[in-house]
């Protein structure tokens, strides 16, 4: 099993991840737009100031300066809230960071550009403006981009470690604050595009990503108690995903449910639907996540409850698809 034992929490995952990366790689620059503290970039800022660059409260500048830093031979890791780093600076992400590498560009392998969006979806308490329910879909639409939604700090660390060695644009959803330790770092090996079976079963196949995988595992415990047969597949890489693994999982189940901390359009649910419909004749897919209305603010537990994404309601909704 890839899962850890008793549930514990990492209080500030990115502080360690960024510090460890920068001590190992002196060509990495952690960049901020006045949100270092709120993305938990503390030790790099204080102890490795040459590897920290704050561009001020200017997200377009964050990503365009980052693209320049990359062209200068360093590896920028631009950090900000997911809403701002995607919505507010989408053109800079696409044009400045995303057009220098891969098919259709002038360079097979161009500079490495990394952007991390913290507090994605409903993990930010300030409703609407601070919440990013569309970031995965936005970045997924950029040709050659990589999009990763890790479930915990182990996944997050591994995704960033992979990204620094890859040319082109990588967008990673970040975790901050008490982050549950879910994957066992001794057994889990991140591979770009790979999917991970966290629970093996029959009946209902649950496909989840990011916070959605945390929620899926909570619901899974309840489903198990209720005797509802199911499996859980964790899909950290939204793009480029190993499509055959998703297809194989989907066609091995009677029903598929996708769970994501993102709108149910353009993200994981759409991805799974596209893969299965391209083949044809697959199982019905029920997409769970943020609906087509503005989510409330508050704690994530409160918002989940309001949107029917708390463990109990999720379990009931999942069990309901079998009927």
């Amino acid at each position: 099993m890839l899962l850890t034992g008793p549930r514990s929490f990492d209080p500030a995952p990115f502080d360690d991840i960024s510090y460890d990366l920068c001590t190992r790689r002196d060509d990495v620059v952690i960049m901020s737009a006045d949100l270092s503290k709120y993305c938990q970039v503390v030790r790099v800022k204080n102890e490795l100031p040459r590897q920290h660059l704050d561009v001020g409260m200017a997200e377009q500048n964050l990503l365009s300066v980052a693209a320049g830093v990359a062209k200068g031979g360093l590896i920028p890791v631009a950090t900000c809230f997911a809403c701002y780093i995607t919505r507010r600076a989408y053109d800079q992400m696409m044009i400045c960071m995303g057009t220098g590498s891969g098919p259709g560009t002038n360079q097979k392998t161009g500079p490495t550009n990394i952007a991390i969006g913290f507090t994605p979806g409903i993990s930010n308490p300030a409703r609407i403006h601070h919440q990013a329910a569309e970031d995965l879909g936005m970045v997924r639409a950029i040709p050659n981009a990589r999009v990763i939604d890790p479930v915990d700090s182990t996944d997050f660390r591994a995704a960033l470690d992979a990204a620094v060695d890859l040319p082109g644009l990588t967008y990673i959803r970040g975790h901050r604050g008490d982050t549950p330790r879910i994957l066992d770092p001794e057994k889990f090996t991140f591979e770009l595009g790979k999917t991970y079976k966290l629970k093996q079963g029959k009946g209902i196949g649950i496909i989840a990503t990011g916070h959605g995988t945390q929620w899926a595992l909570e619901a899974s415990d309840i489903l198990t108690d209720r005797g509802v047969e199911h499996s859980v597949l964790h899909v950290p890489t939204i793009k480029p995903v190993n499509e055959s693994e998703i297809a194989e999982f989907a066609f091995a189940h009677n029903q598929i449910v996708t769970i994501e901390n993102h709108q149910i359009v353009t993200g994981l649910g759409s991805l799974a639907s596209e893969i299965v419909s391209d083949i044809g004749g697959g199982p019905r897919i029920t997409r769970l996540g943020l609906p087509n209305r503005w989510a409330p603010g508050g704690t994530m537990d409160f918002i989940r409850g309001q949107l029917g994404l708390d463990a109990e309601t999720l379990a009931t909704r999942i069990a309901g698809v079998a009927k």
């Binding site: 200017a58 377009q60 693209a67 830093v69 200068g72 360093l74 044009i95 400045c96 057009t99 360079q107």
Partner: protein
């Protein structure tokens, strides 16, 4: 003056760049008026200011922010031999590798430059990264006055000044012409030097067509410590070719049928002959 080119030699190169611009744009139209107007800046930049490296390219880095002005780089790189004029004549042709508004990684172009206002920040990031690694390379970034209407430019100016990027030189093509007409009518950008000064940059306003003044300005930029330098060039479209001045009102993009290219080239040939006679005689 950096590479000990004579002013007359550079003026001759500028005329040849104008000739190249016309040769390229007469095929299918293009941003000819901008290329012609920037020919002196281009000659000074590519043939005196930027140092060559040992691999047949440049030691210093040039970031073009507005894709339209790519024509000036093409005009220069035809003279250096990095492109042949035959290659460049495919500019604006379906399937051509010579993009009218180039994409990152094409020879001569550091960034994808068509989405305006994004060059200055990338140049600033590049300058920061080079300084961080102890490099003596300098970074030059050309952008237009129309781009001053983009907020990203001012974010870049604030950042570059805050970081004291004295290895960075912004060149503003202050030609008072944008897609819909004169900048002064669309959305006034003046006073340009005062604005950059207020952001913490050192500035100088020049015509952009006087070679001695251009070289002196580049010298001053290099001697400036602790702040980025902004040279504001008050170019006017078609500057350098008198007979095409009547095309000015339609000059943002010059269609193939809009001007008499032969007439323009004849004037250039005469100018070139006169300058070469002065040099040789």
């Amino acid at each position: 003056m950096r590479r000990n080119q004579s002013i007359l030699d550079l003026e001759i190169i500028a005329v040849k760049i104008r000739r190249n611009v016309l040769e390229i744009c007469r095929q299918r139209g293009g941003y000819a008026a901008q290329g012609v107007a920037l020919a002196d800046v281009t000659a000074a930049l590519y043939f005196d200011e930027m140092r060559p490296d040992s691999e047949g390219w440049f030691h210093d880095r040039f970031v073009l922010s507005n894709g339209h002005d790519a024509i000036m780089t093409y005009g220069a790189l035809a003279e250096t031999g990095h492109y042949t004029i035959e290659q460049l004549r495919t500019y604006n042709e379906d399937g051509s590798q010579v993009d009218q508004s180039p994409i990152e990684g094409q020879l001569g172009f550091e960034i994808t430059a068509g989405s305006l206002g994004q060059g200055p920040s990338q140049a600033a990031g590049l300058a920061w990264a080079l300084r961080q690694q102890g490099s003596d390379k300098r970074v030059y970034c050309l952008f237009s006055d129309g781009e001053l209407q983009e907020g990203n430019v001012w974010e870049a100016a604030m950042f570059a000044a805050h970081q004291k990027l004295d290895n960075l030189c912004f060149i503003v093509d202050n030609n008072d012409m944008q897609a819909s007409g004169r900048a002064v009518d669309v959305l006034g950008v003046e006073p340009v030097p005062e604005k950059f000064e207020a952001f913490g940059c050192k500035t100088r306003r020049i015509t952009g067509t006087d070679m001695a003044e251009l070289l002196d300005t580049f010298d001053e930029a290099r001697a400036t410590k602790g702040q980025p330098y902004v040279m504001i060039c008050d170019t006017r479209l078609w500057d350098g070719i008198d007979c095409l001045q009547q095309a000015l009102p339609m000059a943002h993009y010059t269609a193939k049928a809009a001007v008499d290219w032969d007439e323009g080239l004849a004037e250039i040939t005469a100018t070139l002959s006169a300058l070469e006679a002065r040099r040789d005689g």
